[in-house]
Amino acid sequence: MAEESLGESNRTNAFVLSARKRTMQKVIKTAGEGMLFAAASFVAVIVLFIFYFVARDAVPFFQIRGFSEFFTSSNWYPADDPAQFGSLAIIYGSLMVTLGSALIAVPMGVAAAICLSDILPFSIRQYAKPIIEMLAAIPSVAFGFFALVILAPLLQNNGGPMLMWAWWILVSPFMILAVIVISDLLTTKITDQKRRQQLHIFFLILFGLLSVFLLFKVGTILYGIQILTGTNALNVSIILSFMALPTIVSVSEDALQAVGREIREGSYALGATRAETIIKTVLPAASSGILAAVILGIMRALGETMVVWMASGNSSQIPEPWFNYLQAIRTLTATIAGDMGEADQVTGSARFHVLFAMGLLLLVISFISNLVSERIVVRQRKILSGQ
């Protein structure tokens, strides 16, 4: 570093130190730097330790029981004699809530990030950011408590009407939009002005009626649904999506901000509207960063323990049919948290080690997705800065 060498040469010229003092200073300096380095590498040591100690207790399980049962069977009877450790349903449950929360959180999170970086004026953004931070700060157990004590009874008692209202409120604006866009697109090719307008109106009415019919039909079907248990995959997915949102919003906002002004201004100069600019130029340029955000957000949902433990129902079976979000499920994290207490007393048994096998699985998935998202971010930064 330039400043340092400058400082040092100045010093040696200004004060003549004895040789002993100079060596002392050097020793202290190296020792100090060594200690700083030790502190910094402590994190790496911890990561290695985590891998080692989780793997150390996970390996005996695979030695005793092999791989095939764990990944292919869904018979989870760890306390029976003979015990069965089929974890397929549990892994599936984890994937299910992760996917469910991603379906809710990704569109919302990306939309919110776009809004924060491109649409809202600075004065409003100042107030929107703390909301997101507060959402991130609420402890998971408070979310779990909310899911268990407030949301679950609501879903159980008024599940059908709630689903219907959610469907209407969420889908009808998009339906209207789709009707307008489709009827416009279908009539753009027609050159005759009068015919075009007539057709346009005809299509608007046709698709409008169709979409109203669809809205009501699906609405009544949803209204008739009886939710047998409020602690189910849907409940957990909703709550997890709110926990994943802050991560997705803040990381993808960074990615959107990293896309330079020039790209946006170029697009505006060509006559694009703001929506077109964002969708056609900004989003593609920021896509890898947003992907990284999505991965990080999803990992938060996959690794979350308390909400799924409290509100997922903890029944280890693959729902019937497989996409039924209204049934109770069980996840890897909840199984680890719930079964460790009972397995603890018999350290050394397969029942104890299977939980570490699950932990190892989680650890490996999170490690890989972290690496991937990091690579993506680095690559995007390179592309955007250097071209």
Binding site: E3, L6, G7, M35, A39, A40, F42, V43, A44, I46, V47, F49, I50, F53, V54, R56, G109, A112, C115, I119, L120, A128, I131, I132, E133, M134, L135, I138, P139, V141, F143, F145, F146, P173, I180, V181, T188, Q226, F242, V249, T273, R274, A275, L296, G303, T305, M306, M310, T333, A337, M340, T347, F356, G359, L363, S366, F367, S369, N370, L371
Partner: protein
């Protein structure tokens, strides 16, 4: 596409973006508002004479004279209830055998409901558990119990296609023609005189320890446990994190080693919290044997590892935000690099570092999964500072889970659960709010 449609699309795009932020704000409100409104009820509520009795005999609080006059006035109204009960018991003896058997089981239910409402009745043996020593201490609970007393709940399973429905049958009807029938309207009309509800402010909810697994009393052991765990974690993680951040920003040279260390940092930040718990169990307890079994120190160490990456990142950002001119000015005055860091850069970066620290403190206080296997117990009294190396502690986050999902009477003590959640959420949000305010002040100051 024609220009009108493009404009509509543009507007609706904006609407979707703003809408999603509004949804987030609404979600925050939906989660936080019921927690606040119900949580406040743990401290401010309409307490009955039973609450005052409980406070006096369990915590030696309240004045004995006022209490005894209150008890006397409530006993005047209760005496009539007891009279009716003994009257009916005498009547029961004179009945025909099959009728007697029928009424006996119904009478037992009535008696149980009354016990829940008013506490032990004369003639009962002294209850073993404290929760049965008193009647309902909260008026809204007493009203629920009054409903249980007046009506019998039954389930309608007649239609197998729909879920069975609960419906209520008045108990008075089934006692038609006996002397007990007068009891029901009497209790309904005079409950207020028997329980003497009045507005109560129970600050002891925060400072008392719990009585009979949170049926009565407060949550002090949990608050203290959370404090010990979070502060303990900070004691380990904060100095280490700041030192590591100094290394990363001032000394690290770009290269393979550095990028690996940074990778390790982000990997650690992404590890699921439950895995930290497993690691804490496998490493700190089973291998290092920092304690015999669960202990505060093991939990604090586990939490420290969990919050370390956050602290490092925040400290790094704070150090990098210190203007370069500070550094140059200090170096040009002839101070050494180390001197510059210690006397110029760190003091200038301190508010930013503290912000990160405060947020991490909140995270350590709120996290549950890492302490399940390493530090938390569901029941226990507040531990002394000397016990942190050997004994586990109750903690807010863990006990919220435990009371809400594993407690044998979870639905009876909702107010305690809400109170606990409010305590935890307000601790965490206060810390975060102060961090937000702190950061706003820093950015103003740096702008000049």
């Amino acid at each position: 596409m024609n220009i009108g449609t493009r404009k509509i699309l543009d507007r609706s795009f904006t609407a979707v973006g703003i809408g999603s932020i509004i949804v987030m704000a609404v979600a925050l409100m939906i989660v936080v508002v019921p927690i606040i409104t119900n949580g406040i009820g743990a401290v401010f509520f309409t307490g009955t004479v039973e609450h005052r009795k409980m406070l006096f005999s369990e915590f030696k609080r309240g004045d004995s004279e006022g209490l005894s006059s209150e008890v006397a006035s409530s006993e005047r109204y209760r005496a009539k209830v007891y009279e009716m009960l003994t009257g009916f018991e005498a009547e029961l003896e004179t009945m025909a055998p099959e009728k007697k058997a029928e009424y006996k089981s119904k009478y037992a239910q009535v008696r149980a409901a009354l016990q829940a409402l008013l506490g032990p009745l004369p003639g009962d043996s002294a209850p073993m558990l404290t929760r049965f020593k008193y009647g309902q201490t909260r008026w809204e609970k007493a009203e629920e119990k009054l409903h249980d007393f007046l009506y019998e709940s039954k389930w309608d399973n007649s239609n197998p296609d729909v879920m069975s429905k609960e419906y209520f049958v008045s108990r008075a009807i089934s006692f038609q023609g006996t002397s007990l029938v007068k009891l029901f309207p009497y209790v309904k009309n005079n409950l207020e005189y028997m329980l003497l509800p009045e507005f109560t402010v129970y600050w002891g909810f925060i400072t008392d320890s719990s009585v009979d697994s949170h049926f009565f009393g407060g949550i002090w052991p949990e608050i203290q446990g959370t404090f010990f765990l979070a502060v303990g974690a900070m004691l380990f993680a904060f100095p280490l994190g700041v030192v590591a951040a100094v290394y990363f920003t001032e000394y690290a040279r770009p290269g393979f080693l550095n990028s690996m260390l940074r990778s390790a940092n982000s990997t650690l930040a992404g590890v699921p919290s439950i895995v930290f718990g497993m690691f804490g169990l496998a490493f700190f307890i089973n291998t290092m044997k920092v304690s015999e079994s669960k202990s505060v120190i093991a939990g604090a160490l586990t939490l420290a590892i969990m919050i370390l990456p956050t602290i490092i990142r925040a400290a790094e950002e704070a150090i990098l935000a210190v203007p370069k001119t500070y550094r140059e000015a200090s170096l040009s005055l002839g101070s050494t690099k180390w001197n510059t860091i210690a006397t110029v850069i760190l003091p200038a970066a301190l508010p930013g570092i503290l912000t990160g620290g405060v947020i991490s403190l909140g995270r350590a206080a709120g996290e549950t999964a890492p302490i399940i296997f390493t530090a938390a117990v569901s029941v226990g009294s507040a531990i002394g500072l000397a016990d942190v190396f050997s004994s586990p502690t109750p903690a807010l986050s863990w006990n919220i889970y435990n009371l809400a999902s594993e407690h044998e009477a979870a639905s009876q003590i909702r107010h305690v659960q809400y109170g606990m959640v409010l305590a935890l959420v307000s601790i965490v949000l206060m810390l975060n709010l102060s961090a937000i305010v702190l950061r706003a002040r820093i950015s103003k100051k740096l702008k000049g």
